[in-house]
C-alpha cells in the first residue's frame, strides 16, 4: 500500500532543503528533517526500515565524529557506502534530514546501510526510531552541562534505550569507561566490549576530574589499577565486586609518536591486527579501536580495515594540519574538559619525548637526532609551545565556560613560549592560563580571530609549529579566516 503521508513528508522535506539552499540559509542539514517530521512523525522509522543492512549508531561525548568517519571510510572502501550524517548534524532532525537526502521521492533509501553519529541526549529517541543492528557507545564525560544536564541523566537515558533493543542487535561498549561498561549488564542485545590493555599509558597522577569514579551498582569508590585519563581505566569495586569487563577487542600495545602518528597492535576473536594510524594521541587510537571493533562486527575483513585506517584523514578541525603561508599550523578542537586535557597532554608529551631524547644522548647527538626528525617531519624544533587558544561561548560551544576550570591547563605551566588567546571568552581563558601557572607576560589577548591569528603568527619563530586549540564555533571562525587567506579549502569541499 502506498503511504501517502510518508510521500508527502519526503517531498516537503526535500523541497525545504532545496529552498533553504537556494536562499543560502545554510547547508540545509536539519530543516528538511524538521519539516518532514511535522508531516509524518514516523518518517525516520519508515525510511531507515528500507535499509537492507540496517542502521549503525555511534554515540559518546568525545570521539564520535572521528570514529563514525573511520567506520564510514572503511565501509565505503568495502563497497558499501553508508548513508552517513557526515556534516555532523546529529540530533533527530539532522539524522532525519540525512535519511531524506538519501531517499527517493518514493520513500526508499538508495544506500544499503545507515551510519549515524548520534548526539548523547538524542540517542534514546533515535535508537527507538531506527532499530539499530549495531550500537557503539564510546564514553561519557561532562560536556555542556547547560544543555545536556548531568552525566547521570544521559546514562539513564542510554540504559533505558539499550534495554529495549532485541537479541539481534549488537551493543559495543568501551570496557574502560565504567559509566558505559555498566550499561551492558543484563541486556537482551548481544554485548561486546573494547578496551586498552597497554598499562604503560596509565597516568601517574590521579586525574583531577572524573564523572564516574563511584561504582554504578553500589556507590563505593572504584579502585583503579590503571587510570588512563579522566575516569577511563582498569577499575574494580572492592565493595560489590563489579569490575571492568574483559574486552573482546583488546588494544594490547599502543605506541604514540608525538603529534604525528600512532601504532596499534590489537587482538580480537579469531585474529590480531597491527595498524599504523596517521593520527596522533591516545584518544584517536581509542577511536580507531572502536571503529575496528564496529567494522569487524559488520563483517569487514581485517585487511580492508587496516588499509583504510592507514590513510585516514581526521574529521574537519578535530586534528588538522594547515600550511599557514609557509608556517605549520596544527588545529585541534577542544570542547570539553576531558578532550581539552587529552589534547594538552598530547602536546606536552610530544615535548617530553624530545627532551628525554636530549638528556639520554647528550647535546650533540640530540641536535643530530632533532635535525633528522625535523627533516622527516617527526618532531618540531622548539622545546616550548606556541599556542593560539580560541574560546567562544555561543550555543554550539556551550554558554557556560566553567569547564575551562575542569580541564588541566596546569600541564602547560613551564611549557609555553607564547599563548595568544582569543574568542568571545578570551579574557576568561587568559585568567585560566594565568592561574594554571602560565605567566601573563607570555600571553596576548586578542578577541577577534583574525587579529589573534596575526598576533600568533607574528610571534612564531621560523621552523616552529603553531598549535591552535579552538572551541567548535571558534574553529569555524578560524577556518573561515584561513579560507579567506587561501590557506585552507572551504569546508563544504571537505
Amino acid at each position: 500500500m502506498i503511504d501517502l503521508r510518508l510521500l508527502l513528508a519526503v517531498a516537503a522535506g526535500k523541497s525545504a532543503g532545496i529552498a533553504s539552499r537556494m536562499l543560502r540559509r545554510g547547508g540545509g542539514t536539519t530543516l528538511p528533517g524538521v519539516v518532514a517530521q511535522r508531516i509524518d512523525p514516523q518518517v525516520l522509522q519508515k525510511l531507515t526500515a528500507t535499509l537492507p543492512r540496517g542502521v549503525v549508531l555511534v554515540s559518546g561525548t568525545n570521539g564520535k565524529t572521528t570514529t563514525t568517519r573511520m567506520i564510514a571510510a572503511i565501509l565505503a572502501d568495502d563497497g558499501r557506502t553508508p548513508l552517513h550524517n557526515r556534516a555532523g548534524a546529529n540530533l533527530m532532525s539532522g539524522v532525519t534530514a540525512t535519511a531524506l537526502a538519501g531517499a527517493s521521492l518514493g520513500g526508499r533509501t538508495h544506500a544499503h546501510i545507515g551510519l549515524f553519529e548520534t548526539d548523547e541526549a538524542a540517542f534514546p529517541g533515535i535508537a527507538a526510531e531506527t532499530a539499530p543492528r549495531l550500537v557503539v557507545l564510546h564514553n561519557l564525560f561532562r560536556d555542556q552541562l547547560d544543555r545536556y544536564g548531568e552525566v547521570d541523566t544521559v546514562a539513564q537515558g542510554w540504559r533505558a534505550a539499550l534495554e529495549r533493543l532485541p537479541a539481534t542487535t549488537t551493543v559495543l561498549l568501551n570496557a574502560d569507561d565504567p559509566a558505559v561498561a555498566a550499561l551492558g549488564e543484563g541486556l537482551s542485545a548481544k554485548v561486546r566490549y573494547y578496551g586498552l590493555n597497554d598499562l604503560r599509558h596509565a597516568s601517574g597522577a590521579a586525574a583531577q576530574i572524573g564523572d564516574a569514579r563511584f561504582c554504578r551498582r553500589c556507590g563505593a569508590p572504584y579502585r583503579y589499577t590503571a587510570l588512563f585519563y579522566a575516569h577511563i581505566g582498569h577499575y574494580r569495586c572492592d565493595s560489590c565486586g563489579a569490575m571492568r569487563p574483559t574486552p573482546d577487542y583488546a588494544l594490547e600495545r599502543l605506541d604514540l609518536h608525538g603529534t604525528e602518528t600512532t601504532t596499534l597492535y590489537l587482538t580480537f576473536p579469531g585474529s590480531a591486527m597491527e595498524v599504523h594510524l596517521p593520527l596522533p594521541g591516545l584518544y584517536n587510537a581509542i577511536n580507531a579501536l572502536a571503529a575496528i571493533a564496529a567494522c569487524r562486527e559488520l563483517g569487514v575483513p581485517a585487511s580492508r580495515i587496516r588499509a583504510t585506517l592507514e590513510r585516514f584523514d581526521a574529521a574537519f578541525g578535530r586534528i588538522e594540519r594547515v600550511d599557514a603561508g609557509g608556517r605549520p599550523l596544527l588545529i585541534a578542537l577542544i570542547k570539553n574538559p576531558v578532550g581539552a586535557t587529552e589534547t594538552i597532554r598530547m602536546l606536552t608529551d610530544s615535548l617530553n619525548v624530545e627532551r628525554s631524547t636530549k638528556t639520554l644522548r647528550g647535546d650533540t647527538a640530540a641536535a643530530e637526532t632533532l635535525q633528522g626528525n625535523v627533516s622527516t617531519g617527526n618532531i618540531q624544533p622548539s622545546t616550548l609551545l606556541h599556542l593560539l587558544i580560541l574560546i567562544n561561548d555561543r550555543y554550539a560551544d556551550g554558554t557556560d565556560v566553567s569547564w575551562l576550570w575542569d580541564a588541566e591547563f596546569e600541564r602547560l605551566a613551564g611549557h609555553v613560549a607564547h599563548a595568544t588567546v582569543g574568542g568571545t571568552r578570551a579574557a576568561d581563558m587568559a585568567v585560566r592560563l594565568k592561574y594554571a601557572g602560565v605567566e601573563p607576560e607570555r600571553m596576548t589577548v586578542a578577541d577577534d580571530p583574525a587579529e589573534a591569528l596575526d598576533v600568533a603568527l607574528s610571534r612564531l619563530p621560523p621552523g616552529a609549529t603553531l598549535y591552535a586549540l579552538p572551541t567548535y564555533t571558534a574553529m569555524l571562525d578560524l577556518r573561515a579566516e584561513l579560507v579567506r587567506r587561501r590557506w585552507a579549502r572551504p569546508f563544504w569541499e571537505d
Binding site: E150, D152, I209, D211, F214, T399, S402, D428, A430
Partner: protein, 265 residues
C-alpha cells in the same frame, strides 16, 4: 613571619561539577603570589576534622548522584561541628549543592524533605525547570565594605528562600539568582557565603576571593593584616567583559559586528 592558612575542601571527589575546583585554585594562587602559605585539606566521606583548626572552608556543587552519596555523611558527621564553627565565624564559601546543604532543608519536586545542617537560615524547594544562564550580581556593599559586581553562571533547579538571620549576597542584575522571584542572589551569615555562582566564581571575581582571604587572615592574625595588592588586569577584564555584555553596553558593538559579517558573507 609567614602567614599560613588552612583551607578545607569538602568532598572534592563528589562535589566537583561546573568547574568549582577553580575556586580552590584561585584561593591557593592568590595566597602563593603574596607569600602566604596555603594548605588544602580534602574532606571526604568518613573524614574527621577539627573545624577550629580551619581558616577557610569550600563546598562546591555536585551531580545529583554525587550529592546523594555524601549528603548523609555531611549532615550526620560534619553537621553539628561545622555549624558551631560557622556560628563562631569560620570563613566559608558554598556553591549550589553545597549552599543548599548548609540550609535547613531541600524539599524535592516529589515532596521529599532532605535535611541540611541549618547553618544558614535558608531553605530550598525543587523546581521543575532549571534556571540556567549568565548572572551579574550587584554585591551588597556592607559585606566587604566595597561595592562591586560579580559575574558567574547559574545552573540549578532548586529555589532558595532566605530567612531573617541571613542577608542576601547581592541583587541580581541579570539572571535568576536564589529563586527567580525576589531578585536576590546568595546568602551571607557572619563570615559564611552561599550562592549559585559557577564560572568559576573566584578567579574572575578577585574582590570576593581577596575578601575571603582577608577575613581568614584577620581571624587568625588580628586586625593588623593588610593584603598586598596584586595585578588583576586580566581578572578584571574577564569580569568587566561579561558585566558589559550582559548589561548591554556591548550590545551595539556585537550587533554591528553581526551586520558586518552578514554583509561580508
Amino acid at each position: 613571619m609567614t602567614w599560613q592558612l588552612r583551607l578545607a575542601h569538602l568532598y572534592p571527589d563528589h562535589m566537583n561539577i561546573y568547574g568549582d575546583r577553580g575556586n580552590i585554585i584561585a584561593l591557593q594562587q592568590r595566597c602563593r603570589w603574596r607569600g602566604i602559605a596555603c594548605e588544602v585539606i580534602p574532606v571526604g566521606p568518613g573524614a574527621t576534622i577539627d573545624w577550629s583548626d580551619i581558616d577557610i572552608a569550600f563546598f562546591g556543587g555536585g551531580q545529583d548522584s554525587g550529592q546523594a552519596l555524601i549528603a548523609e555523611d555531611f549532615v550526620e558527621r560534619q553537621g553539628p561541628a561545622l555549624r558551631a564553627a560557622i556560628d563562631a565565624g569560620l570563613v566559608m564559601l558554598a556553591i549550589c549543592g553545597g549552599y543548599q546543604l548548609l540550609g535547613h532543608y531541600f524539599l524535592t519536586h516529589a515532596g521529599q524533605r532532605l535535611p541540611g545542617i541549618g547553618a544558614l537560615d535558608v531553605y530550598t524547594v525543587g523546581g521543575k525547570e532549571r534556571l540556567i544562564g549568565n548572572v551579574v550580581v550587584d554585591v551588597n556593599p556592607d559585606i566587604s565594605g566595597a561595592a562591586f559586581r560579580l559575574v558567574g553562571f547559574e545552573n540549578h533547579s532548586g529555589r532558595t528562600y532566605l530567612g531573617a538571620s541571613v542577608r542576601p549576597l547581592g541583587r541580581v542584575l541579570v539572571g535568576h539568582g536564589n529563586n527567580g522571584e525576589d531578585g536576590t542572589e546568595g546568602a551571607v551569615y557572619r563570615n559564611t557565603i552561599g550562592c549559585y555562582l559557577h564560572g568559576s566564581l573566584l578567579p574572575k571575581n578577585p574582590q570576593l576571593a581577596d575578601h575571603l582571604i582577608a577575613m581568614a587572615l584577620r581571624r587568625r592574625y588580628g586586625n593588623v593584616v593588610r593584603l598586598a595588592p596584586l595585578n588583576d588586569a586580566l581578572e578584571l577584564k574577564a569580569q568587566q567583559t561579561m558585566v558589559e555584555r550582559m548589561l548591554g553596553k556591548g550590545r551595539w558593538r556585537a550587533s554591528r559586528r553581526k551586520i558586518n559579517q552578514a554583509l561580508n558573507a
